[in-house]
């Protein structure tokens, strides 16, 4: 079909235009219908028709010399059959450089120009076809990427929703665990207080307690307290760090070098239970041993510790999930194109070597320049 049209066109040109006016397009032919005279296209002047394309510029607008270089601002139409037609400035007519592929601009010059339109046309067509193919391929790829992008997008959205659900659940859990921990702490506190209260009562009112304190102080278990034993276990209330002096210890033993249980109960016990001058040193296990020995306290303590660990775990989980959520939200907030066609680029990196530099582009992330010397510079 196309071939017929071209052949017809060639035929038509040859037939109708026996006196072809050089350098005009067919749409301008109506201005150059041969009469006796020619009116410059801008209407400025009427000249004899022989002066059209006679290599002398008569019209201001250059319209009398479409086919020569005579007019400074004229233009020449390259028909370029087989390729694309176009205009060139008149100054390029017969300047020794081939501008029109049909060689029509160098009809009177020292340069021989080949008609390259058919080849150019072929190449152009091949090129355009190639382009089309590339374009099709590109479109196909784009579609694919869009589909992938959409899927990925949905996947990520679902992931986000899931994560948000998890976060909500974790929040509930977290509150529960906080409450539980609080409860356990409170219980522990209570037990400890009760124990402390119980301790002082016991010391004051129960013999066994007198005995047990006596035994506590009687380090060598010989049934009597000595100056050394007192120095080891008893301190001043206001100066716990200082070891009692020989004299002070002796005074607490009521000036005797030894003190048995009955004497202890009537003398030092009272001083100790009053608790305003001296007290039993907080040695390891002294009061602790008192509480650790208590099973209630032990249980409460363990429960509190358990709840704290649980809470920490839940808190960590919650934080992780939240971080993932904000990451995902950040990624989802980026403009990936109307159809998410650029989504697949996220997470990819591309490298380009230019002379001594290697450039790395990670879309939606960062660009770096690394020289062969190994210096890496972030470009944003």
């Amino acid at each position: 079909m196309r071939v017929y049209i071209i052949v017809a066109a060639v035929f038509w040109c040859g037939y109708v235009d026996s006196r072809k006016v050089r350098g005009i397009s067919s749409s301008y032919k109506r201005f150059y219908r041969e009469r006796k005279s020619f009116l410059c296209i801008d209407g400025s002047r009427m000249i004899p028709f022989e002066q059209v394309n006679d290599d002398y510029c008569d019209c201001e607008d250059g319209s009398d010399e479409p086919g020569t270089s005579a007019c400074p601002h004229g233009r020449f139409y390259c028909t370029n059959l087989g390729f694309r037609p176009h205009y060139i400035p008149s100054s390029r007519v017969n300047d020794g450089i081939c501008d029109c592929c049909d060689a029509s601009d160098e009809y009177n010059s020292h340069t021989r120009c080949q008609n390259t339109c058919w080849n150019l046309g072929q190449r152009e067509r091949a090129y355009v076809e190639g382009q089309m193919r590339t374009l099709d391929e590109g479109l196909r790829l784009k579609q694919q990427l869009i589909e992938e992008g959409v899927l990925l997008w949905r996947e990520k959205q679902a992931q986000l929703r899931e994560l948000q659900q998890v976060a909500e659940d974790l929040q509930v859990k977290l509150e529960e665990h906080r409450r539980k921990k609080h409860e356990a702490d409170r219980l522990k506190e209570q037990t400890l207080k009760a124990l402390e209260a119980g301790n002082s009562g016991l010391i004051r009112h129960q013999n066994s307690s007198v005995t047990s304190i006596f035994h506590l102080l009687d380090t060598n278990k010989d049934g009597s307290l000595t100056v050394d034993e007192i120095k080891a276990k008893v301190v001043l209330v206001h100066d716990e760090q200082r070891v009692l002096s020989e004299g002070e210890a002796l005074a607490l033993l009521d000036r005797g070098h030894r003190m048995d249980l009955s004497k202890f109960q009537s003398t030092l016990w009272d001083v100790l239970t009053r608790g305003d001058t001296v007290k039993i040193k907080d040695t390891q296990g002294a009061p602790g041993s008192l509480s650790s020995e208590d099973p209630h306290l032990k249980a409460a303590d363990k429960a509190a510790e358990w709840e704290a660990t649980n809470l920490k775990k839940v808190e960590e989980a919650y934080e992780t999930v939240n971080m993932e959520i904000s990451d995902l939200q950040k990624k989802l907030a980026i403009d990936y194109g109307t159809d998410w066609e650029f989504l697949f680029l996220n997470g990819q990196c591309y490298k380009l070597k230019v002379y001594e530099y290697t450039y790395t582009l990670c879309p939606f992330n960062q660009v770096t320049q690394k020289s062969t010397a190994g210096v890496e510079v972030s470009l944003g």
């Binding site: 270089s69 100054s91 390029r92 450089i97």
Partner: protein, 886 residues
Amino acid sequence: MAPLLVVGLALCLSGTWAVDKGNFKTCEQSAFCKRQRALKPGESPYRALLETMELTNTRLTLQLINDNNKVRLLLELYRLQGNITRVKINELKPLKPRYEVPDVLIREPTTEPLSVLSQDENGVVLSLGVESQRVIISARPFRLDIMEGSDVLMSLNSRGLLAFEHLRMRKDTFSYKVTSTVASVWDNIKRTTKEEEEKVEDGMWEETFKSHTDSKPNGPSAVSLDFSLPGVEHVYGIPEHADTLRLKTTDNGDPYRLYNLDVFQYELYNPMALYGSVPVMVAHSPQRTTGIFWLNAAETWVDISSNTTVFGKMLDYVQGSSETPQTDVRWISESGIIDVFIMLGPTPKDVFSQYASLTGTQSFPPLASLGYHQCRWNYNDQEDVKSVDAGFDEHDIPYDFIWLDIEHTDGKRYFTWDPHKFATPKEMLQGLMDKKRKMVAIVDPHIKVDSNYKIHNEIRSLGFYVKNKDGGDYEGWCWPGSASYPDFTRADMRAWWASMFAYDQYEGTMENLHTWNDMNEPSVFNGPEVTMHKDAMHGSWEHRDIHNLYGLYVQMATAEGLIQRSGGVERPFVLTRAFFAGSQRIGAVWTGDNAAEWDHLKISIPMCLSMGLVGISFCGADIGGFFKSPSTELLVRWYQAGAYQPFYRAHAHLDTPRREPWLFGPENTALIREAVRQRYTFLPYWYQLFYRRDLLVHPVVEEGARGVTAYLPGKDEVWFDVHTFQKHNGAQNLYIPVTMSSIPVFQRGGSIIPRKLRVRRSSTCMEHDPYTLYVALNLQRTADGELYIDDGHTFNYEKKEFIYRKLTFANKVLSSVNLAPDAKFTTDSWIERIIVLGASKPSKVTLKTADGQEKQLEFDFNASMSVLTVRKPGMNAGADWTVTFQ
């Protein structure tokens, strides 16, 4: 990186956008200048020993004696063909030879007979042969007066400032002591009794400037002489200075300095030295024009004083005296001899041809080099070159040359290409050639010290480098880092350099690649005053002796290389920054690293005119300004002014934004296009006339100008605006309203200018185009002009391959007559149009060709403008013809 660093450093040092004056010497800081300038007039110790006079037919010799130290000088006096007198003064018996400048004169000048008219014990009168011209030699003190009739044209040593520091032994050296001990008793007695003990002053044997020490092994060696010019108020010349055309008096400041220097961001309106030196001064008065050519290549200072400066004028006014105006000048050079050519005119044209007979005329450039040149530091790579080239086509702006600055090389190794950015230079050059365009690449004279660089290795092994004072290769810092400098004063070195331009040596080059020599003062970044140490050695001569000549030699060797590579056929195009007397024979010169400022646009005109006055006509300034970035208005105005300056090149610094003509909006692109197109229509005129006086151009160089006032000279002249054809009378100040598109240009009535109006991509594309003849009639209704045509690029014109015709309009007949009947050349070009300005309406116009055929021509007459346009006469431009206007 290096250039940026250095520029940055320099910037830091200067702190502002101006030259750091402290980097360059004042007369006070230059020991010999200070010494010489301290001499008082009227105390000349020199006496002519008339009894020693010898006169052969054309040569007079005579001894002079300095009565203070008894050192004798030998004066030689010659009468040269064409009304020139040459005076040479040297020591009679110098300790060692003193430098005499070679290679500047085109040949040993032809002498003419001299004869003694009279002689007595006070002096001698010599006849100079023509027009009652005489030289009077007075004996005590020595003085020369050149007379014509009863007028003194010029006097030498009239103020007694002749000074010639003779070479001497250093008194504190061992060899001096030996000599004086061995010398005879009699000599010693004579020495102590008769001679005044010479004063040793600071700076005679060593001089330090800004941490650079000049070792001065030869001691003081300066020469100096004064000239008086009676009747002269205006003196011109001695470029290169960024100053007004008319030279100023120097009484209240430094003398004008001639010392080729790479001045970073030079300042305007001062006498500081710049890149080039031409020691030629032209003295002009309405009655007479004369010239002084001081042939000395060492550092030179020129003092000018006048009795008509403000003080003198006031004196005249007060006393009502009628004292004739007089200008006194004084030349001081650091070494060498006094060798001065006194060109006696009498007209300006005579002085120019006298000077040309000594040093030659402007080399005939390839036609294309008169077109537009697109340059910047730097076009980055081949792709960049290609896209700029395409930009010119896209925007329909003609251009002929695109340029590559230093970045095109492989690490500032000249004669090489950057392997990445310019990997396939021939491909690039072919691309340009396909468009009939050309390229220029830079080749500077500093050679990177690098044992992997062929050029360096060869120069080093041939021993061709300039030597430092200790005999090793001189090294300095320049663009490539550490660099050495070939000794271009050696003819064998220049021959070797020229051979490096052969296509098989300079790889990647083709015939459309031409050359640019920059930094050839020479520029040495870490040298004293950014140049070479004066005690560096060129064979047996010190750099001190030859300094101002170095740049000329670089360009000479380069141009020779371009000629040789074409087998002697093609005319070379080489641009240089440094220059000396005689550089005009080699190529083009530009005014160096100017700035994008209105004042720099203004100064480009006197700077190039000054060079033109002393023979270097192919001159231009960087369009747009090299440093800084021009406003759009300034850029457009610069393109317009540059279109009418001989060398037309846009250039810009590496750090400035791009400024190709199409980057400033369509309106400004159009203005620049129009300016460049005007340039191209006038190319035939530029080419053949180089230059006549038929065009008067007054470019707009003021920001925001609404009008300019141009002086149209000549009482009986008329001038035609070349754009509107409006006629104006001469001898008036004409106010011309201007818009952004205006370039006021006038054609002199009485002239015929051939133009080519079909402006194309490049000048080469216009080769075969027809001519339009612009015939501007004077008040006598006559006009004449010339038409010269050749192939535009070869030396074949020397073989008489050209067309040279005289065009004359008289008695209503325009005719073309062959001025060179023995020359042969044919052209396709024809005459497409004749425009007669100031015409009256003919009844018919008839063309008569050589074969006797007659043809009626069509014409159009514009009565309101008196412009007659003859349509398409059509005869060949090389033919005989007449056109009769009845």
